[in-house]
C-alpha cells in the first residue's frame, strides 16, 4: 500500500517497529478497501472476514489499518468499532455505534485524531466540532438519529446508525469502510440479522454501502454468515497467520531492550518457544520482568517469573477471566477444569462420550460447555472426539490449577513442582524449534511431490558421496542437472503424522504420505511412502534403525488394515548425520531411500528451481485439434512444417519435427480413451525454439512406473513398433512427459540450434 506520510499511531497499540510481518494481511485489506471507479461499476464489492487464532493479532491488524487510512487521508473513510461484550440492548448499541462513528468521521475530516475521544460526549458537542463543509451533513445525521430515537422504533434506530458511515461518505465523496472487531458478540443477538442485511444490501455500484471487515473469535465469526451463496460470493476471507519465530524473537528482544531487561539469546529463544510465539504471553512476561526489575538471563529466572505470572500474575488473571467467561458458575468451572485436564493429560483425542461422562455430575449442560470451549479454541471438539488445542501456557495453567484445586496436592512452601519439570524440558523445548522447522520443511516437500524428475543421488547418500564428495554446494547444484539416474516421486495427496519417539541422543518423527505414481488415479498406481525423519548427533546406528523400522512396520500394518489393496510401499529414511555403514547396507538391501538433511535441502532447492524455471509464455502460439482418424497426423505434420519454416528451421530439422510429431500423434491416439476422439496440439514459437505440446484425454501416453519416463508402447510389434518414444527423443532436443488430471501430454522442444552449440 502507498502512504504519502508515515502513519501515525492512533488506535494501534504497537509501534510500527514492533508490528512486523503483517504486510500480506494489510495488502489484502487494502485491495478490499480500494475499488477503483471502473471496478465499482462492473464488479460486486466484497466484504471481508479477517480470521485467525486467538491472540494472533487480528485486532492490531485492524487498528493499524485504520491508522494507515486515517493518516493517509485519502479516498477511504475508515471506521473502527469493537463490539461490546453485550449487544442485547439495541438502543444502547445504536447510540454507541453512531456516536463513535460520528467522532471518527469528524476526526478524519479535520485530520485530528484527538477528536476520536469525543465519542463519549453528547452528539451535539461532536456535531459542533465538524468542519464547515460537513456541518450540515453531520447535523442532518444527528437529526435523523434523534428522530429515530424519539420514535421508539429500535430497528429504525439501528438502521440509521448502521447507515451513517455510508451517508457521511457519500456526502464527502469517500469510500466507506467499517472495521468491526469482536464481531463474535453479535452471535445470537437481534443485531446479527441487521448486520447481515447491511452486508447484503446495496447494488454493485452503490457507494453508500460500506465495505465491512469482520474479525473476532474465528469459529463464531465465520458462523455469523448464513449459507447464502450471494453473500459468500461477496466475502473475502483473509487469514491472519501466526508470525514467524524470527519476527517474534526480534520483537521480544527489542521490547526487552526497551524495558532495560537483561536477557541472553538463549533465554529469548526459550521464552518464544515455551510461550508458543504468543505475543500476549510474551508481552506479559516482559512487562512483569520490567515492573519487578527482574533479569531474564538464565533459564531459572525465566521459569520462576513464568510460574509466578501463570499462577498469580497477568497471564493467570487473563486465563482466570477467560475461564469465568466460558464457565461462570462454580459447577461449570469444575466441569471445565475436569474436561481440560482429562484431554490434556490424555495427549491424544479423547472420545466425546468419555469427556461428557466425566463432567456430567458438575454441569447439566455439558454440550453447551464443550461448545463454548470449542468457540474459544480452548478445546477442539469434533463429532466424535475432543482434543487439546496445543496451547502450552493453557496446558501449564490447567495442570497447576487441577493439582491444587481438584487433586488437592499440597503446595510447596516455595517454588512449584511444575517448575522443576519445565526446567528439565527446557533443552528439548529449545530443540523443538529446530525439529519443527525440519518437520514442516519435510511435510511441505512431500506435499509438493508431483512426478518431478529428481536426481536419484539425493535419495541415496552412498551414491551422493561417491559422486559429489569434496564438492562445494554450488558445484553440486550444477552437477545435479547432469545426473542421468532420476527418481520420479508420486503425486502426494495427503501426509499423516505417525508420531514421534526418542531415546538418548536420537529423536525421530514418522510420516505416511499417500499418493499416485505418475499422477494416474488408479488403485494400481496408489503408493504409500513411509518416511522417517531422524535427528541424531551421530550417524544412525543399526539398533536404532531397527526400532524405527518396527514403528514403521506397525504403521504399515495399520495402513494395510485400512486399505488391503495397498501394494506399493516406498520407505524413505532421512537422518541428519547420515547412517552407519551397517545401517546403510541394511537399508540398501530392502531398497529403502537413504537421505540426510543436506539432501532434503537440495531436493527442496531443486523442486523450487524446477517450478521457477517453467517455460515462459512464448510470443506466438497456434493450436490444432485433429480427429483420431487415419492419416490425420499428416495434417499436424503439415501444420508443424509451415510453422517451423516460418521460424527459420532448416529442412532437415523440419523433417525431424514432422516425424517426431507423427509419432506423438500415433501414441496419443493409441493410448487415448477420449470420448471426443481428438488430439489437441499446441505449437509455440519462442525466440530460439519451437515447443510442441500434444495432449490426449483418457489414459496416458504409456504406463508410468514412477521411476522413469514411461515407455510409450510396452508391446512392440515386429521390432520397430513401440519405439515411437525413442524416435521422438532422438529427433527432438527436449522431451517431457506430463500427466494431466484427465489424460497426459507430451511436450517436445526443438531448438533452432541444439543447446550445446548455441
Amino acid at each position: 500500500m502507498t502512504t504519502a506520510n508515515p502513519p501515525r499511531q492512533i488506535l494501534s497499540r504497537l509501534a510500527d517497529e514492533d508490528f512486523a510481518g503483517r504486510e500480506s494481511e494489510l495488502d489484502r485489506l487494502d485491495s478490499l478497501a480500494r475499488t477503483d471507479a471502473q471496478a465499482r461499476s462492473t464488479v460486486l464489492r466484497s466484504n471481508g472476514l479477517l480470521l485467525g487464532a486467538p491472540r494472533v493479532g487480528k485486532t492490531e491488524i485492524l487498528r493499524k489499518f485504520f491508522d494507515r487510512l486515517f493518516s493517509e487521508g485519502g479516498e477511504v473513510l475508515p471506521f473502527y468499532y469493537a463490539l461490546p461484550r453485550s449487544c442485547v440492548d439495541q438502543e444502547k448499541f445504536a447510540r454507541d455505534y453512531f456516536s463513535r462513528f460520528l467522532a471518527q468521521f469528524v476526526a478524519f475530516r479535520r485530520d485530528d485524531p484527538k477528536l476520536i475521544e469525543a465519542a463519549d460526549e453528547p452528539l451535539a458537542v461532536i456535531g459542533r466540532a465538524a468542519p464547515a463543509e460537513d456541518y450540515l451533513c453531520v447535523r442532518s445525521l444527528i437529526d435523523s438519529f434523534t428522530s429515530a430515537l424519539q420514535s421508539g422504533d429500535a430497528t429504525a434506530l439501528l438502521r440509521v446508525a448502521l447507515s451513517a458511515p455510508g451517508a457521511a461518505a457519500t456526502h464527502a465523496g469517500l469510500e466507506p469502510l467499517v472495521l468491526l472487531d469482536d464481531a463474535h458478540h453479535l452471535a445470537g443477538t437481534e443485531l446479527h440479522a441487521e448486520l447481515i442485511r447491511a452486508l447484503g444490501s446495496g447494488g454493485a455500484s452503490d457507494r453508500r454501502k460500506p465495505i465491512y471487515v469482520l474479525t473476532g473469535l474465528r469459529r463464531l465469526v465465520s458462523n455469523l454468515i448464513p449459507p447464502d451463496q450471494e453473500l459468500f460470493d461477496r466475502i473475502d476471507v483473509i487469514h491472519a497467520e501466526s508470525l514467524s519465530n524470527e519476527v517474534i524473537e526480534r520483537a521480544t528482544r527489542r521490547r526487552a531492550d526497551l524495558f532495560g531487561i537483561d536477557t541472553t539469546d538463549s533465554t529469548i529463544e526459550l521464552i518464544v518457544q515455551q510461550l508458543d510465539c504468543d505475543s500476549f504471553y510474551i508481552k506479559s512476561i516482559l512487562n512483569a520482568a520490567a515492573s519487578r526489575g527482574a533479569s531474564l538471563k538464565t533459564f531459572i529466572e525465566f521459569e520462576r517469573l513464568y510460574y509466578s505470572e501463570l499462577l498469580n500474575g497477568r497471564i493467570g488473571y487473563y486465563l482466570d477471566e477467560l475461564m469465568r467467561e466460558v464457565a461462570p458458575g462454580a459447577g461449570e468451572g469444575r466441569a471445565m477444569l475436569e474436561a481440560l485436564a482429562l484431554v490434556i493429560e490424555a495427549g491424544s483425542p479423547v472420545p466425546i462420550d468419555a469427556v461428557t461422562e466425566r463432567i456430567r455430575e458438575h454441569t447439566p449442560d455439558s454440550e453447551g460447555l464443550l461448545r463454548r470451549l470449542h468457540s474459544r479454541e480452548m478445546l477442539e471438539v469434533s463429532y466424535g472426539f475432543v482434543a487439546a488445542p496445543g496451547d502450552p501456557v493453557l496446558t501449564d495453567y490447567v495442570r497447576a490449577r487441577y493439582r491444587g484445586e481438584v487433586a488437592g496436592s499440597p503446595r510447596p512452601v516455595a517454588g512449584d513442582e511444575l517448575l522443576g519439570e519445565k526446567l528439565k524440558h527446557s533443552y528439548s523445548v529449545m530443540m523443538s524449534r529446530y525439529n519443527r522447522g525440519i518437520e514442516s520443511q519435510l511435510v511441505e516437500l512431500l506435499s509438493r511431490f508431483d512426478f518431478q524428475s529428481i536426481p536419484a543421488s539425493l535419495f541415496d547418500h552412498v551414491a551422493y558421496e561417491k559422486r559429489y564428495r569434496g564438492m562445494g554446494r554450488v558445484q553440486v547444484r550444477r552437477a545435479l542437472d547432469d545426473e542421468q539416474e532420476r527418481v520420479r516421486p508420486p503425486q502426494i495427496v495427503h501426509v499423516h503424522d505417525l508420531g514421534d519417539d526418542e531415546q538418548p541422543g536420537v529423536s525421530w518423527r514418522l510420516y505416511a504420505a499417500t499418493g499416485f505414481e505418475g499422477g494416474i488415479y488408479t488403485e494400481a498406481n496408489e503408493v504409500l511412502w513411509l518416511v522417517a525423519l531422524i535427528n541424531s548427533k551421530e550417524p544412525l546406528d543399526v539398533v536404532t534403525l531397527g526400532r524405527i523400522e518396527q514403528r514403521l512396520d506397525a504403521a504399515l500394518r495399520g495402513q494395510r488394515a485400512k486399505s488391503d489393496r495397498l501394494s506399493h510401499v516406498v520407505r524413505w529414511y532421512i537422518s541428519k548425520e547420515g547412517f552407519s555403514a551397517v545401517a546403510s547396507e541394511r537399508l540398501a538391501s530392502v531398497y529403502a531411500w537413504r537421505s540426510t538433511y543436506v539432501h532434503l535441502d537440495l531436493i527442496q532447492d531443486y523442486l523450487t528451481r524446477l517450478a521457477l524455471t517453467g517455460e515462459p509464455r512464448p510470443a506466438s502460439e497456434f493450436e490444432l485439434v485433429i480427429p483420431i482418424e487415419d492419416e490425420a497426423e499428416l495434417i499436424a505434420a503439415r501444420t508443424a512444417e509451415q510453422i517451423a519454416r516460418a521460424a527459420d528451421f532448416s529442412q532437415e530439422a523440419i523433417n525431424q519435427i514432422k516425424t517426431a510429431l507423427i509419432e506423438a500423434c500415433i501414441n496419443a491416439a493409441e493410448h487415448s480413451d477420449s470420448p471426443d476422439r481428438k488430439i489437441h496440439q499446441r505449437f509455440a514459437i519462442d525466440e530460439d525454439k519451437l515447443i510442441i505440446t500434444v495432449s490426449n484425454k483418457g489414459k496416458t501416453f504409456g504406463r508410468a512406473n514412477g521411476q522413469a519416463t514411461p515407455a510409450l508402447n510396452a508391446r512392440p510389434k515386429k521390432g520397430a513398433r513401440g519405439r515411437g518414444f525413442q524416435i521422438i527423443r532422438a529427433l527432438m532436443d527436449e522431451v517431457e512427459f506430463e500427466r494431466t488430471d484427465d489424460g497426459a501430454r507430451l511436450v517436445m522442444t526443438k531448438y533452432l540450434k541444439r543447446p550445446d552449440t548455441r
Binding site: 487415419d630 492419416e631 497426423e633 499428416l634 505434420a637 532437415e652 523433417n655 525431424q656 514432422k658 516425424t659 507423427i662 509419432e663 500415433i666 512392440p716 510389434k717 515386429k718 521390432g719 520397430a720 513398433r721 513401440g722 519405439r723 515411437g724 525413442q726 524416435i727 532422438a730
Partner: protein, 123 residues
Amino acid sequence: MSLAEIRARLMGDKAVIYPGPYLNQLRGESIEDQCQELLAAGVRRIVINFAETELINSIGISILLGVIESVNGAEASLVLSNLNASNRELFEMLGLMSHVEMADTEEEALKTTPDVDLVQFAG
C-alpha cells in the same frame, strides 16, 4: 479403411515398389501384400524406391521389417533406394541398415535390369 494404391514396376524377375509420400500402416500393409504377390510370381529382386517418400512412421517401419524377413526367407533380395537424409537417419536409428541392402538410386539398386511397362497394384 480406404485402399492405399502403391505404384510398382515389374521387370522380369525384378520389381520396383514406390511407397508414395507417407509410409504408414496402410501403405506398409499394401507393400507387404504386394511383395507376397511378387515373390509368388517369381520375382527375386525387389527394390523399394523412397524418392517420393517424405515421411515414414514407426508402424510403417515395423511392417517393413516384416517385409525384409519374408523376402530374405524366400531367398530373394530387397534393396531400399533413394532415401532422404531424415528417413535414412530414422532407419539407422532403428537398426534397419544392418538388415537390408541400400542404394543411392533406383538404377544402382536394379543394376542392369531393363525397363518394362508400369503396373498398377492395389493393396
